[in-house]
Subunit: 317 residues, 2 copies
């Protein structure tokens, strides 16, 4: 099969079909999304080598349970050991021995086929298209914020970052009924959420605005500093981006203003699927391009550019 392999650099390779163990299924990947984490992996994040990619939709090709073959699925990317205290408490996402699909010690979705444990599967309702389904994983990450903090309707909330994750988060937070502002650098990307009734601001327009809750989805050190600056005393600062880059900062601001910083990573798939079924979020406008696997070089170039949002790789084209 064809796959993109990262080993110091990314290349398209021809490799044997992966072989599944008991409890695992073989999935024929149809679409896979390129996430900022993938771009960070190409810079050395997590020291990953192998096949990256963790946002996908595909069809089960082989399974212990033959009744599953042909089902359309996506999957939770954290693969817990199943035995530790975290796993036994349902916290597989924080299992200290976990593998993570396409991110840590486990081949991912930028390939014609992938292996994933059956317990990680989520079946996709017919009303969700492939192009929407590939957003379930990042949408779950956006939903995680609502699992972690309670957003009151009277809260002034800011999302920093008008990238693909920022715009998903904005849509999810808007459902909470809070007073939402998205702050970014790209008028055209901000337009997308403005059409949904969300306030927007260009980063250059910020002066003394302060918010009860600020979500940093900028993926940059500059963004971190600017977002933190806008948190009210006793406010909440949700950190969404993982980057390879370190930042230099003085934590005194967090202490003096008694800010609560909440690190937020992967989220629950079920509410994400539900949001898509109920058409409460609109993900298709976030697709900037769909490229065949063969055109991966262009796909990654476009994904790296500031103008684009979500880039998908199609294994069917």
């Amino acid at each position: 099969m064809k796959a993109l392999q990262f080993h110091k650099s990314l290349s398209l390779i021809e490799c044997p079909f992966p072989s599944r163990k008991q409890g695992e299924v073989l999935v024929q990947v149809h679409l896979a999304g390129i996430c900022n984490t993938d771009l960070e992996i190409l810079k050395g994040y997590m020291n990953f080598t192998g096949i990256p990619g963790h946002e996908f939709v595909g069809y089960i090709a082989e399974s212990d349970n033959t009744a599953l073959v042909g089902k359309r699925v996506t999957g939770e990317i954290n693969i817990g050991c199943g035995e530790c205290i975290a796993c036994q408490n349902g916290l597989d996402r924080h299992c200290p021995n976990r593998d993570v699909l396409g991110i840590q010690n486990y081949n991912g979705a930028f390939a014609e086929f992938l292996i994933i444990p059956e317990k990680n599967l989520f079946f996709i309702p017919d009303s969700i298209s492939d192009e929407e389904a590939v957003f379930i994983e990042p949408l779950a990450a956006a939903c995680e914020i609502l699992e972690q903090i309670q957003i009151q309707p009277q809260f002034h909330v800011a999302v920093f970052g008008d990238g693909k994750l920022g715009l998903l988060i904005a849509q999810v937070l808007q459902i909470s009924g809070c007073k939402l502002t998205v702050i970014g650098r790209h008028p055209d990307k901000l337009n997308f959420v403005r059409r949904l009734g969300v306030d927007t601001l260009l980063e250059s327009q910020i002066s003394d605005q302060r918010f009860d809750v600020v979500v940093d989805a900028t993926g940059s050190a500059d963004g971190f500093h600017q977002a933190l600056q806008c948190v009210k005393p006793r406010g909440i600062f949700v950190l969404k981006s993982t980057t390879q880059e370190s930042i230099q900062f003085n934590p005194a601001k967090l202490v003096i203003d008694e800010i609560q910083l909440v690190g937020s990573r992967c989220g629950p798939f079920r509410p994400a699927i539900q949001l898509l079924v109920e058409k409460k979020v609109d993900v298709k406008p976030l697709i900037s391009g769909i490229y065949p696997l063969n055109a991966w070089e262009t796909a990654f170039q476009v994904a790296e550019s500031r103008e684009s949002l979500k880039i998908l790789l199609s294994m069917k084209l």
Copy 2:
């Protein structure tokens, strides 16, 4: 009167008595404590100039209400404007226009007399000695942690830092009944809390211990990193130290492990006074020396040394 003034460097000066405005009282200071924040101020923290010192006990010398004269007091150090939304919600400590006694725009307690608004006063019950009363402010800062997070008895909690603040925090947290470990560099300081039944560890003995809650009271960048490393996934990291120094760190650890970082500064005086009245904390063993104001140079030298804990300045000696 005599006072210590910081203006690029610290010096003992003779200056006029401060004059009080309506609503303010004149306090004759008896004892004042040297806090790490004071030591940071000498390095440039907060760009403060004037008379530092914010931990004190003294007697009211002048007041609008003459019945108050002679009363023994300490005081909340944050002086809110009284008019903004924060102040109107009882959050004077986070008033954006606040002055802070001996820290921000307002002369403090390293002097024979100080001025403070009457509304900031706390009267000291007879059962609390002067030497104990001077700990009310830092003890309140320790109590703040229990206002911000709920510590369950089954929680494994670590306090990093065996300095004066760390040892106060340890005593306060021990009351919550959690499984407490204090981690530090000084066997003799750790001995103090070990005698109270708290587990202790030398920093060099840490290996793979992980805690539900970690409090960083080290006041150093090294301490921050080491303390953060010991927070369990989904755990709570309470940040207590304010320093002049910036730190270099990659926030990915906070995101990946979904850690909640809680900045924690000043706290409520009433519970602190209550703890002293009920003899639930033991602060006197934390006093490493009491020096007359004239001997301020020695006092600050000793306060800077790693061996000492709390150094007090006495205006009566």
